[in-house]
Subunit: 368 residues, 2 copies
């Protein structure tokens, strides 16, 4: 019986997707006499925790009840008071936790406090699923790098455009609509400058109540036009990753000032051939916990080479180009067994398209 | 109520797959007072027709019953006596037919004879599905060319091998097992000589009670080794498509004789750059109604260029090579909208692989 309540809590947790970053997705359910008497989830960044909603809904009835929560309840004052105190105050009898807090400084502390208060605690129910739900959070907390999620739309033969640059449209409307949701789920969205020059994309999440992601363009030679859509938002969410060398050039320095006046942010790196890894480190420093990588081929190939893709969704249309631009290129494996293998694959049929979802196994360092 | 009986008849028809070519797949169901009293299907080439099995099972009870049959009953003496006579003799009251015989010389004649005998006839129930079930038969009867079915196993980026030629294995065991069934379903199997030289394949259907297909290699310069697996079956089912020019060469003529002694058949064509179309015409003359095209890239690309692919199943593995040999190559479309679009697409999830099935719309000239 336990499991179904935790599954519900995990479902609730997912409702916060795109709204709580860089905090975790958390869901909680209060159960008494096999009846749900309270439920809640972490709704927005800085807002009340899932446990608070669930316990408040249960009210006095919470006394003697069981609390199911997808992540170890917090034990410290952050943006809100510690949940363990609330759990104690409400006289919860038993607390079932899917997984520990990944922060090594606090992992297990919430559990300890609850146990000391005489509350029965069980850890590990639906742990795998809980790790998957919060894979972005765990990745960011552990590695201080954003979770990098690949999105691309390809033909059956792996092409993203004709050799003339046409890419409109490879996939169907429903696939493209799903991409709008991905843009809402991840905090940042990253493209290469060639994609920007070709498509002049707006990179917005065109869905109801959606929030736009940070826009990141990797542009070592600072080629981005001043009048591009990218450079003309007034939300301070456009970021250009470029070379520190550009400031040595008078003309480019002038151009740089124009972008600064527009509220565009810059990440400066040494040289011109950036590693994905150093880009991600800098983005992580800006408290951006997740990035949607939308191409093009150059960045995608680099990210695979550095083994930096944490997950992704590749949309495939039943079309064949027989030439043109591949979504990935430049490798020369000798044997099939050594090529890139996607892990934890799931297929979604989207009318006449299909998408391949995947994510790298989560290598959790604490809480095991 | 009608429809479910025809659907059963169509299901029965499919049981003959791989055993009746180049004859049609046919299923029949006899129904009286909403009860099935007889059923049957065309089991093997030259064997009794579906109607015969179904009517014999019904016996005297057939009098006044309704017969559901997926193809117009035959009206001529072929390998067996005409079914319309049997239907009359058994005093069937009503005959429901999914579609007419595609042979323009006999289309509608069976129906006419039944009507003249006072039997109520209805044509067209589940017609679309019936056309799909017999798409190989219809194609062959109308165009005198075998139905060309593409099978290939690719990575997510459309590759069939590394640039070093390794292709073992891209897809998983279950996908590869399904290929064995395809080899049993189609009468012939065709590859290019490069695939033969690389893999030395046996091209057999490794399933229980399977029958091996005709093996066809397209080898303009007659490069096939005498000791290849292909040339060492004693079933007279290996066919080499080569240039008539090879006989002008003394050495190749000697080699040719060796192959003839082994019982290998030859199709000679002019020049060295054969059209898929002329190859298919010659194969059709051998009463081979269907060919599984297993590659490589050169033949597949040619077949797409000539618009000769009637259907196919492409198996995709969640692997990425980022280089190597594409399953199709040499095209340079300007716009996405002009590239090849697969029709009637269906996806099958096969563990961590997926297959894309498709078939060209059937353009039936008679029986509409």
């Amino acid at each position: 019986m336990d499991k179904k309540y935790m599954e519900l809590a995990l479902e609730l947790a997912l409702k916060g997707k795109g709204k709580v970053n860089p905090n975790p997705l958390v869901g909680a359910v209060v159960v008494k006499d096999d009846k749900i008497i309270g439920q809640g989830y972490h709704k927005f960044f800085g807002g009340p925790h899932a446990e608070v909603y669930a316990l408040d809904e249960a009210g006095e009835n919470a006394q003697g009840a069981t609390l199911y929560v997808t992540l170890e309840p917090c034990s410290h004052f952050g943006k809100t008071p510690p949940c363990v105190e609330k759990i104690k105050k409400m006289k919860i009898k038993k607390c079932v936790v899917a997984c520990l807090d990944p922060n090594p400084l606090v992992a297990g502390r919430g559990i300890k406090i609850l146990k000391e208060a005489g509350i029965e605690v069980e850890v590990g129910l639906c742990r795998e699923k809980a790790l998957e739900v919060n894979k972005v959070f765990f990745k960011y907390i552990q590695d201080k790098k954003p979770f990098l999620f690949l999105k691309c739309a390809i033909t059956l033969d792996g092409k993203i455009a004709t050799s003339f640059g046409d890419s409109k449209w490879i996939t169907n409307e429903n696939s493209r609509e799903k991409v709008q949701h991905l843009r809402n789920d991840y905090m940042g969205i990253m493209i290469g400058v060639n994609t920007l020059l070709k498509d002049n994309p707006r990179l917005t999440a065109r869905i109801e109540n959606g929030r736009n992601p940070f826009r990141i363009v990797v542009d070592p030679h600072f080629k981005i036009p001043v009048d591009s859509n990218f450079a003309n938002f007034d939300d301070n969410k456009s970021i250009i990753v470029t070379s520190e060398n550009i400031l040595k050039d008078i003309e480019l320095s002038e151009k740089y000032k124009k972008f600064i006046d527009k509220g565009i942010r810059f990440i400066f790196l040494a040289g011109e051939d950036f590693k994905i890894d150093e880009i991600l480190d800098k983005i992580g420093e800006l408290k951006i916990d997740s990035v949607l990588l939308e191409g093009g081929s150059y960045l995608i190939s680099k990210a695979f080479k550095e083994d930096r893709i944490d997950g992704g969704e590749i949309f495939i249309a039943p079309k064949i180009l027989g030439g043109g631009l591949s979504f990935i290129d430049g490798f020369n494996f000798k044997e099939i067994k050594n090529c890139f293998h996607l892990e934890n694959v799931k297929y979604n049929i989207i009318n006449d398209n299909i998408s391949v979802e995947f994510f790298k196994n989560i290598n959790l360092k604490v809480g095991d």
